[in-house]
Symmetry: C2
Subunit: 411 residues, 2 copies
């Protein structure tokens, strides 16, 4: 029993930490509660409801189903729900009319076949990527409404009255949703995407910095703030796996009205490109990390020679990335970025020069000694090169990104 309570206690602690770290989510929960209370009050004020099966139900259902975390997701669902219901209701009433005209005998056959065909077609359309991205929920609502309408035993004129009340209740539910979610501390998918990309850029900068520092510094200096550094080093992993999240958010952001710093036709797709570029850099960091984790140590003299250039390069890299993040944050094109990119390129050049001068000074002595000692050193030389070149590739990637994307987005 004690263990059971301990588990519950841990669970509550975890829940609390989630709530404390992301107050927006708590606000969202309260908003859901508020919207539902509003709907219920609305129906207590005017005694419209005629039981659970009645019309009040549709308003409640709309609120519960449609209320999503971000405004974009909610608007998308609302539009889907309205379009799906409308299309399905008109089609359903049409089919219903045809069926009743064709006599008692054929009615169930016509209705059954039409339900079968349309449900299959609508389900299939959900597998097509372009429809799935925008109208997945609408297709489901279409199937639902169409089956309900065509299966109901009502006459067509009764159906029309029913449709009217249904539309009005769904309208009430939808408008309550939209107002609560957009007026009370709204969570915009676009803004979340913006922040995610900026956060990933900053984390990547820290990771590049931390990786190179860990590789070249003595291990003793680092152990002091070990936990903090470990967190920094792991930062790039967020960028590795954020593709799906980025895509869905960019998809939802298109549904949102202009808000804050974002115009109506804000180029959300640019964010996907930046995200992909950041992910590419993160792949490079990943292979850099595997070099660090390998057992072969850099010999002291090599470390001395290269650590300066490498550290400078990595700090320039993270400098550029941080400035990029800052630029995205303020959405202005600063002139400092060109300067930093230039400095970064100079650092690359320096490192390459350093590498070119190395063979003379370091590789020659062991080769002339000509004993078994030679081979490990050349091997380690290679390892340290491997360690450096991903940074160089990351850098060249970065310069490309910087040059190409920033010009487009912030213009």
């Amino acid at each position: 029993i004690e263990r059971f309570f301990l588990k519950i206690w841990r669970f509550l602690e975890k829940a609390w930490s989630i709530g404390a770290s992301e107050p927006k989510k708590v606000a969202h929960c309260l908003k859901v509660g508020l919207a539902l209370s509003l709907v219920s009050l609305f129906y207590y004020m005017r005694p419209l409801y005629d039981g659970v099966g009645g019309n009040a139900m549709w308003a409640v259902m709309t609120v519960v189903v449609v209320f999503e975390y971000t405004v974009g997701a909610m608007l998308c669902k609302c539009v889907n729900r309205v379009i799906g219901t409308f299309l399905a209701a008109s089609l359903g009433i049409g089919v219903h009319w045809v069926a009743t005209q064709s006599g008692q005998q054929f009615e169930p056959i016509i209705l059954g076949v039409s339900v079968f065909l349309l449900a299959s077609a609508a389900t299939f359309s959900r597998f097509i990527p372009s429809i799935k991205a925008a109208f997945d929920y609408g297709a489901m609502i279409f199937i639902l409404t169409f089956s309900l309408v065509s299966m109901s035993g009502y006459r067509v004129d009764e159906l029309l009255v029913l449709a009217q009340t249904r539309v009005s209740t769904i309208g009430i539910g939808t408008s309550i949703c939209i107002f609560t979610s957009m007026l009370l501390c709204p969570v915009w998918a676009g803004n979340e995407l913006h922040l995610l990309i900026i956060r990933n850029t900053e984390k990547l900068a820290d990771s590049i910095d931390g990786c190179v520092a860990e590789y070249f510094n003595n291990n003793e200096d680092i152990k002091v703030n070990d936990k903090d550094l470990g967190k920094k080093l792991q930062g790039y992993k967020c960028a590795l796996n954020s593709k799906a999240a980025e895509e869905s958010m960019a998809n939802l952001a298109r549904w949102e009205p202009p808000h804050g710093q974002f115009d109506f036709r804000h180029p959300w797709k640019q964010y996907l490109k930046i995200g992909a570029a950041i992910r590419n850099c993160a792949f490079c960091v990943e292979s850099l990390r595997s070099c660090i984790d390998s057992e072969t140590q850099v010999p002291e003299f090599l470390r001395k020679n290269l650590s300066d250039a490498c550290t400078r390069l990595s700090s320039q890299c993270s400098q550029v990335l941080k400035e990029l993040a800052m630029m995205m944050k303020t959405m202005t094109k600063s002139s400092k970025i060109d300067l930093s990119v230039g400095e970064m390129n100079i650092a690359v050049q320096e490192l390459q020069n350093g590498l070119k001068s190395l063979p003379n000074s370091l590789l020659l002595p062991p080769i002339h000694e000509n004993d078994s000692n030679r081979q490990p050193i050349t091997k380690q030389f290679a390892v340290s090169l491997i360690d450096i070149l991903p940074v160089a590739t990351a850098v060249s990637l970065l310069t490309e990104i910087v040059g190409r994307i920033e010009g487009i987005v912030e213009e």
Copy 2:
């Protein structure tokens, strides 16, 4: 107008190609249509329905909402729906009883506050990862049912009758869903996961093979089957971005009963581990690719020296991966794999020996020449090293995986 029709035509073509390439999806669509027709027939047979607002609705709604592509997802939703409805209904009836006891005045307040609190709490629980993974849908159904019950104007004994009919209709819908989806060509999430992992392994093997071949061969040989090769080379990208899909499928597979080659407690988490290992290898291939795309060409004499060892190593790699895929496919531990891993390790050793003997034969001449020609060569030597060592790391990773995971899964 012509362009409009062209667009529609293209859309239909795309839809057709999706259907032709994945007949399972078409089968799924037909199954949805069939299940809905069955429900409608069920209600045509016995005139139970009393209109759209009646009970037939709940069976239809259950079928539409619960019918998912994989059996695991559907079972998960069914269980969620039943548990959520049951919990919410009992709680709702309890609160309703308390509210009616406390008099006309307090009734709306008690109901409103309880809806607010419970809806907020249930919404918050959807943000907690462990609950989101298994009970996301259940929490939504809980909110929905609780609000409906507490907002309805019925007396408690009426509610009990209503609950009974509701449960029976949901039961009908659920059982129709389960039977259609499990008896007619079922799509098991576990099986899909199994196939996905195997496919990714095979693609990775092809990519490693293709990359190294492209790097070392003359470009002219390859141009012949260029498109086919390009597809092979891109294969590893599937592995890069499949993390989310793998996790959701492993999650859903836990809900499935034993089927085919899979026992009740099949270690689905092992698949996630294998998937992560494959993804790690794919990261290596990604950096390998960036070496290939770089402009610096391997000098002819270096290529001659290394291409043999590298090609042998890569073919050994892909051999091991393909045998791994075969082992997963047949779920048996073959003795050939140890042999292949051994050969792969020998190939690594050979390559390392080849590298160690290189500085003698290739680096010394340019160093003694001591002209500007030297630097490019050492640089390119480094590039080719970089090209090789990811394969080596991938290999060491692979040997680890092979040794560690295959022993566990197939026992």
